[in-house]
């Protein structure tokens, strides 16, 4: 049983690879990743999905929903040039690949610098004995005396 399952899985994988290879070759042939690839990849796509469009009713209307690979325009961002390609099968995005995601700048790998929730244990830790200065909301002259910065300065007279 287990062997049969493994063999059929391997065969299925090979089929998927082959279909992917084919569609990839078509994209390369046509040069343009957009509309021209649409018809070419549809045959490959049906191979991958095992006739999914047919099973979803088999109506000719399915032909009007988008299928193919589409490249977005290259966008200049703070992190360098970014361009993505999507693979669409019967109107649903099945894959997103980055065509351009790099720049000489080392920040290219860090596309998002957005702030995310973080546990208190996960931030860079520091004890007041290790730091040389303290950043905080502005303290008044009075509050300074009892502040951590006040203690640090007192230690460094």
């Amino acid at each position: 049983m287990r062997i049969r399952a493994a063999v059929s899985a391997a065969l299925a994988s090979a089929g998927i690879l082959l279909a992917g290879w084919q569609s990839g070759a078509h994209v390369a042939d046509t040069g343009s990743a957009a509309a021209a690839a649409s018809t070419a990849t549809s045959s490959g796509a049906s191979g991958i999905s095992g006739g999914a469009p047919g099973s979803s009713g088999g109506s000719p209307g399915a032909a009007t929903t988008a299928t193919g690979t589409f490249a977005g325009s290259a966008v200049q961002t703070r992190f360098g040039t970014v361009q993505v390609q999507i693979t669409v099968n019967a109107g649903a995005i099945t894959d997103v690949t980055a065509l351009q995601l790099t720049d000489d700048d080392r920040k290219s790998v860090q596309i998002s610098n957005r702030a995310a929730p973080l546990l208190r244990d996960e931030v860079i830790k520091a004890q007041s004995a290790q730091v040389q200065t303290i950043s905080g909301a502005t303290v008044t002259s009075d509050a300074y005396l009892s502040s951590l910065q006040g203690a640090l300065d007192a230690a460094n007279l």
């Binding site: 703070r78 860090q110 610098n113 957005r114 702030a115 995310a116 929730p117 973080l118 546990l119 208190r120 244990d121 996960e122 931030v123 860079i124 830790k125 520091a126 004890q127 007041s128 004995a129 290790q130 730091v131 040389q132 200065t133 303290i134 950043s135 905080g136 909301a137 502005t138 303290v139 008044t140 002259s141 509050a143 300074y144 005396l145 009892s146 502040s147 951590l148 910065q149 006040g150 203690a151 640090l152 300065d153 007192a154 230690a155 460094n156 007279l157």
Partner: protein
């Protein structure tokens, strides 16, 4: 003008013996702009020399701060800012230096979609939000001109550094960020200076009790609860760090995302509930 950088009394004798193994520093403090400004230099091999250099450097820094405070403070009835607030003069009559800072502030208002604003809700022009950062920046220029390479300047919790606390080692200055829920504890640390991208760290918070802040913007000046209790911003320069920290506290998450998308900064924000939002640079 008499320099007044006298050492302030230690309020925490128990904590005064901090940092036994860290780099030895010497610091001077003075009062200005309603807060305390502190300049620290590595103690170096010859303490007497360090003391002399530090006294001169602190005097230069104090001159910069005092000069700007004289012009921009709304607490001084004779300042240019106060005369403008009373309507005795208009911006047209203001000095070139005053108008230049006004231009800076309105530029930042545009860049932050109005969340940083030089106008109080009552309409009075208040440039103090940008003047402290500008004073730190100008003090840095004075220190560079004096040939001082390694220093840490802290103005009421806004920090700018140069070089290293242990010259020759390449080690950065380590700044602590105050925990707004327990102001005697540190929430996080952040390395500044040395070979790193960031020399400045500024923290903005809601009022000491943490309840209200002017949440102002173009056409939306109002008084309401802020989403953030505190925001710390690390940047290459102190004005950017200071302005964005203020804008994030005023503008909440949309401004936080706008800041991290548009500037090369790291941000650590504390929500009203005490939870944290941080960019990757603050992750341990």
């Amino acid at each position: 003008m008499q320099p007044t950088f006298k050492p302030l009394p230690a309020a925490h004798p128990a904590q005064s013996a901090t940092n036994p193994n860290g780099p030895a520093l010497k610091s001077r403090t003075f009062h200005c702009m309603g807060t305390v400004i502190s300049l620290a230099l590595p103690a170096g091999a010859a303490p007497q020399d360090t003391g002399r250099v530090l006294d001169g450097a602190a005097a230069a820094v104090e001159r910069v701060f005092a000069g700007l405070d004289e012009m921009f403070s709304l607490y001084r009835p004779d300042s240019e800012a106060s005369r403008l607030a009373r309507g005795e003069v208009t911006l047209r009559d203001a000095s070139a230096a005053f108008r230049a800072r006004f231009a800076d502030a309105t530029g930042w208002r545009l860049l932050t979609d109005g969340f940083f604003t030089p106008e109080r809700p009552d309409g009075v022009l208040d440039l103090s939000g940008i003047i402290k950062g500008y004073a730190i920046d100008q003090a840095a220029t004075a220190l560079q001109a004096a040939g001082v390479e390694d220093w840490c300047l802290n103005a009421g919790g806004d920090v700018l550094v140069s070089g290293s606390p242990a010259p020759g080692t390449g080690s950065p200055w380590l700044a602590g960020v105050v925990d707004p829920l327990d102001r005697a504890a540190l929430l996080s640390g952040f390395p500044l200076g040395a070979a790193g991208r960031f020399a400045a760290l500024a923290t903005s918070g809601t009022a000491e009790r943490g309840d209200h802040i002017w949440r102002a913007g173009v056409g939306r000046t109002e008084f309401r609860r802020s989403e953030f209790r505190q925001a710390s911003v690390a940047a290459a320069d102190i004005v950017t760090a200071d302005v964005l920290a203020t804008a994030i506290v005023a503008g909440g998450r949309p401004m936080l995302n706008w800041a991290t998308d548009s500037w090369d900064v790291e941000v650590l924000a504390v929500l009203g509930s005490g939870e944290l939002l941080a960019t990757p640079g603050f992750r341990a």
